[in-house]
Amino acid sequence: MPGWTRQGAGCVNRLRPFLPAASVYTKREMHAPLDKHTVEVVFRRYGMQVERCCRQILRDADEAADAAQEVFLKLFTRGGGFRAQADWMTWLYRVSVNECLNRLRNTQTRQRLLEHHGIATLPQGGFDPIYIVERDSLRDLLRLTDERTQAIVICHHILGMSQQEVAEVTKISRVSVNKRLRKFQDRVRQHLRN
């Protein structure tokens, strides 16, 4: 396919079973046509998981569908530039979490989501103070911490990932994930006491 450039050989290799050769392209080559069949095959493989991930964080089906579309746009325009050893599911979860966090930080989106949705309790297995907090309040509590920790908290407390999985998705060491979660928990306890 003339004009298309191979990037991130490992990533492309993982998609090779259902992608035409070198289908991930650079910004300069955005004018090259992207085959609809390829998009459909990738979407059928990962679409449900990406949209569910976004829905769990945003708790709004339409907003989640929009967010998932953004994630796939990034996959088809920037996917090849990522670390070769990252598998696609991990990469897609990472981009989904960041996309949703950006949307939650957007005041208008956040206000709309809060107005339209009620209470959802956290899954069992978290730490005590969080048990009593509604999920929407958890999003409020995210303001207590920095952006990297916000992604960690979402992965662990909303998506239910293990600390090892969070480490893989956020590209932060497991020890650091553990420290950041503990620090966040301490801040929440302090916040709830106040």
């Binding site: 993982r14 910004k27 955005m30 004018h31 992207l34 609809k36 998009v39 459909e40 979407f43 059928r44 493989r45 990962y46 679409g47 449900m48 998981q49 949209e51 569910r52 569908a65 998932a68 579309q69 796939f72 746009l73 088809f76 325009t77 598998d87 696609w88 599911m89 991990t90 979860y93 899954p123 069992q124 297995g125 998506l159 239910g160 990932m161 293990s162 999985e165 998705v169």
Partner: protein, 79 residues
């Protein structure tokens, strides 16, 4: 997800099930062993498979892919 009734004390996470279904799990033996021993995780895996089948209705996929293609075209037009 901690559960003392689970053979490994921890159920598989949704992320692990997603990776398993996508064929992106490098060391599959422990997961397979867990699934053989844990009825709850087998049920969850079956639920994820059913969810995926329901989600992948042709009309929904066509709508999503068309929207994606339109967005990609719009991006190209802006460049």
């Amino acid at each position: 997800m901690h559960d003392p009734r689970c053979p490994d004390r921890e159920h598989l996470t949704s992320f692990a099930l997603d990776r398993l279904l996508a064929g992106e799990t490098e060391n599959i033996a422990p997961l397979r062993a867990h699934l053989e021993a844990c009825a709850r995780c087998r049920q969850r895996l079956a639920a994820v498979v059913a969810e995926q089948r329901a989600y992948m209705r042709d009309e929904l996929v066509r709508a999503r892919v068309s929207a994606l293609m339109a967005a990609l075209s719009a991006m190209r037009a802006r460049l």
